[in-house]
């Protein structure tokens, strides 16, 4: 099977004044195309740091990263923008929706930056995919947490990315809603999307095909479920 993400010896050092924080210490990470991978670990273990580096939102202090077989480390921000735009969809714990835009417009927003015009059909399809056919014209303030996260997922999907990265996507949701979001992830995965999901919730994490456990900036376990 083809590897879509290959990370070797990733390190990340944050500096806070004179103090150095080693958020990632020599992390190896691998995901195959179409794989559903979860990352768990206690707070502060480096999950977000890892996900952001994989998503090219942040650069590692050391180590190598390949996406789709191409070396990413050392690329300039200008090239990283393109890479993100074409390959990666991002979902956050806090949804980060624009409060002034309707669900439909929020989903449409990435098209403004990719300068693509996908037409109403595509947006309707995405709305349907995330189960919000009826909610397209609602503002985020008029939606529930689960619905807002669905909008965010729809926004991440509009540019047809190869990889969806989600950083604690259910962190702000109750358990039933969380389950529904995970079901949505599973469904997207079945359609061929590669998913990397960071979560606190071990039960949810076990719904993935592969689970990495991070502690103290290091990968401790990598379990594979079938």
């Amino acid at each position: 099977m083809k590897s879509i993400i290959v990370a070797n010896g990733l390190t990340k050092v944050y500096r806070r004044g004179r103090e150095e924080i080693h958020a990632l210490k020599n992390v190896d990470f691998r995901a195959n195309e179409g794989e559903f991978v979860s990352i768990i670990g206690p707070s502060g273990s480096g999950k977000t740091a890892l996900l952001n580096i994989i998503g090219c939102l942040d650069t590692p202090t050391g180590g190598h990263l390949q996406l789709n077989g191409a070396e990413v480390s050392g690329l300039a921000e200008r090239d990283l923008v393109k890479l993100r735009r074409e390959n990666i969809g991002f979902v956050f714990q806090q949804f980060h929706l624009m409060p002034t835009l309707t669900a439909r417009e929020n989903i449409e927003l990435p098209l403004l930056f990719s300068h693509k015009n996908r037409g109403r059909n595509k947006i309707d399809r995405v709305l349907q995919m995330v189960g919000l056919e009826e909610r397209g014209d609602h503002l985020p303030g008029q939606l529930s947490g689960g619905e807002m996260q669905r909008v965010a997922i729809g926004r991440a999907l509009i540019n047809d990315p190869h990889i969806l990265l989600a950083d604690e996507p259910t962190g702000n949701l109750d358990s039933d809603t969380s389950l529904m979001i995970f079901d949505l992830f599973r469904e997207l995965n079945r359609k061929g999307l590669t998913l990397i999901i960071v979560t606190h919730n071990k039960d949810l994490a076990r719904r993935a095909e592969k689970m990495y456990t991070l502690r103290d900036g290091k990968i401790r376990v990598c379990e594979i479920f079938s």
Binding site: N52, G55, L57, D58, E77, R78, V81, R84, R85, G89, F90, F92, Q94, H96, M98, P99, T100, L101, E105, E108, L109, P110, L111, L112, F113, S114, R155, A156, N159
Partner: protein
Amino acid sequence: MNFLSLAAKNLLRRRGRTLLTVLGVAISITVLFSLLSLNSGYEKELNKEVNSMGVHILAVPKGCPYEAASLVMHGGVIPKYLSASDLDNVSNIEGIELATPMLMHQFIGKDEETGEVVPHVVFGIKINDTKRLKPWWKVEGRYFTDNETDVMIVGHGLAEKQNYSVGSVMQAGPLKNFTVVGILEQTGDQDDQFHFIPLTEAQMVFNKKNKITTIAVKVRDVGKIAAVSEQMEKIPDIQVVTMTQIMGTIMNLAGSARSLLLTVIAIALIISAFGIINTLLMSVNERTREFGMMKSIGASGLDIARMVMVETVFITFSGGIIGTLAAIVGSSLIEEFVKGMLPYSPKGSLVSLSPELIAFALVFSVVLGLICGLYPAFKSSRLTPMEAIRGGVE
């Protein structure tokens, strides 16, 4: 969706702040626009006025030419005099069509109703010369002749203000009564405010025998004004003021008032620019996380910068439109205000609202936005997505 509608929605999110910023810009643009329109109107009117004057050159006693010029325009007393021989010398110069002596004098009168003290300006003139010099003069009643005594012609405005009519008797100068024989029809210039009496009578009454304050000269060929005034300057007692000089002097006076106003405006604009920049930085800082999110969904630094720029120009352009409209609507008010501040103002409308000026004000407001947006746009475009997303959380 496009950058414009996104910007509009963002700005509407913070209505109050947006409105205040827009108003700030609008006020600056109003002031700028008003001043520029006043300025161009002022120059136009001034030119018109000077061109319609029948007098091409004035000879006044040596002294400060600026003061003299402004006195002549306002009607004031020049405390020095020329003599009859000066007049002869001037008259002999080649190219002069007419040189006529005048004696200008000021006396204090009392308003009959209010008892207020008001200065009056009297010109002693030679009537036939004056009629040639100012062919537009028309009189209700009659002109006086040069040998008459106790007679007076008054300007239209003055007559109206003081309730003079043909036949009125008034006191001017030391214990001397004059009968108004004629009232000038409105001339539209300073003559409307003056008294006119025969020159010889004026010299008697004001005890200035054979003395004159001014020689008004009309040349045969307007193109020769410079040559004639050069000849006149050779006469020792005489200071020559050409009408173009007077205009220049007034322009200079107006110019200094203008540069003061321009300074004030420049300062106001700079302050309002910093206000805009400050507001933008504030709103950009508040939206750091939003920009991070945008970068994570594919926005480049340039996209973010463009968004900030579009918002800024949106604000300043709206301010420009409102400010220009306000200036147009309020132009008459502003005109009154400024007329009171200028050293000399023509009678016509000072405000000239040209399409070019409106275009300029609007373009200026856009440029203002581009300048103000530059730093906040640059600053927010430089954020790495990580810094941006973390920025709001921690």
